[in-house]
């Protein structure tokens, strides 16, 4: 089913998508919120344009592919499924996700992967092709955030306060740069060749989604940021 978002009531659009059967395509998307909410396994949603906030919130196994940039809180609290973004993403992408994967071709805003966690046999994966803003993986409790840093080779591909409040999971970065100002709640460590090899399925997923040759990603230095159990998080906001 094909829907022209320009001629559809924005408040009805999420319901139309949910009630449709089979694959749905939405054209001329412009700021409509809550698209693909809780989409189940077996369902696919293709969007052209710029969808609004909370795209794919509570996603439950469906696959969403966007040809354009996305705004804030994409994949908020998603449980399972996949969101592929042929563009960049705004702030709080993957907010509280506990399963499934989000693949972003370009950059992501502030607080990507805030509060993501593993749950039961689920472990969420957030892959950023370009660079991330500050507070990457803030309060991360589980899962994997993978930042490939394409087009951002001259500096660490993330901003200040990376991993603030982090207490579980991993942030893996493809970069030669580790900033001096990392919060002391995270510890950087280079990946071994075996560990990089273990990442290969995720790298392949990115290459396949965006038509990027593996030779652009590998070989390269990767390092992981994990929680520092010797320096648990206290507080940031009130003290400084």
């Amino acid at each position: 089913m094909k829907i022209d978002a320009q001629t559809t009531d924005p408040h009805q659009l999420p319901r139309l998508i949910r009630q449709a059967e089979g694959a749905v395509e939405v054209d001329h998307c412009l700021g409509q919120r809550f698209l693909g909410t809780a989409l189940e396994a077996g369902r696919t949603l293709t969007i052209r344009g710029v969808p609004g906030n909370a795209l794919g919130a509570y996603l439950d196994g469906g696959v969403i592919e966007v040809y354009g940039n996305v705004q804030e809180a994409t994949g908020d609290t998603m449980n399972e499924g996949k969101i592929i973004i042929h563009g960049s993403a705004g702030d709080a992408t993957g907010y509280s996700m506990r399963g499934g994967s989000i693949l972003i071709e370009g950059d992501v805003g502030y607080r990507a992967g805030i509060h993501i966690k593993s749950y039961g046999d689920k472990s969420p994966v957030l892959i950023v092709g370009g660079a991330a803003g500050s507070f990457l993986g803030e309060y991360q409790a589980g899962g994997l955030i993978l930042v490939l840093g394409l087009g951002c080779e001259d500096r660490a591909p993330y901003g200040y306060f990376c991993g603030t409040g982090m207490h579980g999971g991993r942030i893996v970065v493809r970069s030669d740069h580790i900033p001096v100002n990392l919060p002391d709640q995270v510890v950087p460590q280079d990946l071994t060749a075996d560990e990089i090899e273990a990442l290969r399925p995720h790298l392949e997923a990115y290459c396949e989604a965006f038509g990027v040759p593996m030779s652009r990603l590998l070989p390269h230095r990767f390092y992981a940021l994990t929680p520092n159990t010797k320096s648990p998080y206290r507080q940031l906001y009130a003290m400084s």
Binding site: N69, Q71, E72, S88, G90, Y110, F135, Y160, V180, S240
Partner: protein
């Protein structure tokens, strides 16, 4: 109705700005169409716009936009204006009746110059003279509220959704080199016409999405310098902070941004020595003007726009560039609605002032 202090309304907002750096004109109607995309970020309790370069025929005169509760307030205020200004032109601001914009006050516009004798006698700088007149009207004249007082610019605001407010003020009849727009979702104060954004003083205007938790600390400081916060809203205090820092203390806009959204001490410690010293000085000298809490603001001024997020970037804001045009918005969709083809879309970092100005001589 209940006003500020009598009621608290718990709860976002939407902002859009546009500037043509080569000095070309942008139609007010485009701003209306852009902000309309973010309808759901407002709740109908306030919408407004500020246009720069919209009064070229009176560009050397102060344009006052004033709300009056009734004709007696108007008579009192006009007597005051006649005593202090040479009024070159006055008229009602043209509006169209709109079903969703109701309870309009009387809305008048005055193009004026300070009376030379009066100005000379009080030994004040011309702009300070104008500020004091505005403050006097807004604090002492019941039923009169000056909501715009700059040269070759004007604010237009009301209670309602911003797209309705734009139609009410017939903004498609205005053209300017820069604009800001706001859709309001009031968080602490009731929606009334004076409380809508933008807040403007002289040619500075501010639209704001967020909630400043330092409001009272900021207010106490700024009121020591003759400003009166009459509306209990955080945006009003931001407008006065900018006027104080930039006009009165001579800081650059970027320095003012480093005061309002000062980096964390840990971030300052990592800067090059010269920058570290400057940031330390600003934070120490103007500590009471640090704004805490979430905000994204657009500041309009003669010749440009500044976009600024709080240092933690707790609100969304994106910038789209296309040739000489720059668009700034809470959501990219609002930009794409009117200007679909952009060369570049990016988001400034928290606390990073993005300043865009019209080329000299344009």
């Amino acid at each position: 109705m209940q006003k500020e202090g009598q009621v608290r309304i718990p709860s976002g907002c939407a902002i859009v700005g546009a500037i043509d750096r080569s000095g070309g004109t942008i139609c007010g109607g485009d701003m209306v169409r852009a902000i309309a995309v973010m309808h759901d970020r407002s709740n109908g309790l306030g919408g407004g716009f500020a246009g720069y370069g919209i009064y070229p025929q009176y560009k050397d005169l102060y344009a006052f936009h004033i709300f009056y509760a009734g004709s007696s307030a108007k008579e009192t205020c006009e007597r005051f204006l006649e005593k202090h200004f040479d009024i070159v032109n006055l008229s009602k601001i043209p509006t169209s009746p709109h079903p969703r914009v109701t309870d309009a006050p009387l809305i008048w516009r005055y193009f004026m110059a300070p009376l030379p004798n009066k100005l000379a006698r009080c030994q004040l700088d011309e702009r300070e003279y104008v500020v004091r007149c505005v403050t006097r009207i807004n604090t002492q004249m019941k039923g009169a509220h000056v909501f715009s007082s700059g040269k070759n610019m004007g604010a237009f605001k009301a209670v309602g959704y911003p797209e309705d407010v734009g139609e009410f003020y017939r903004l498609d009849e205005y053209e300017g080199y820069a604009w800001t727009a706001h859709g309001r979702y009031p968080t602490n104060t009731p929606g009334w016409w004076g409380g809508a954004h933008p807040f403007a003083l002289l040619d500075y205007s501010v639209v704001h999405n967020g909630e400043i938790s330092s409001y009272d600390a900021n207010r106490r400081f700024i009121e020591m310098y003759g400003y009166k916060c009459t509306l209990q809203t955080d945006t009003e205090v931001i407008t006065y902070i900018i006027d104080y820092l930039v006009r009165r203390r001579g800081l650059t806009l970027e320095e003012a941004a480093n005061v309002m959204a000062a980096p964390f001490w840990t971030t300052i410690a990592q800067q090059e020595p010269e920058r570290r010293e400057r940031l330390t000085f600003l934070r120490q000298a103007f500590g009471s003007l640090l704004l805490t809490g979430p905000f994204s603001i657009l500041v309009g001024f003669t010749g440009g726009l500044m976009a600024l997020n709080d240092r933690l970037k707790l609100r969304s804001m994106v910038i789209g560039e296309a040739g000489s045009r720059v668009y700034i918005s809470s959501e990219e969709s609002a930009i794409r609605a009117v200007w679909p083809d952009l060369d570049r879309v990016w988001a400034p970092r928290g606390g990073e002032a993005a300043i865009f100005t019209v080329k000299e001589g344009a």
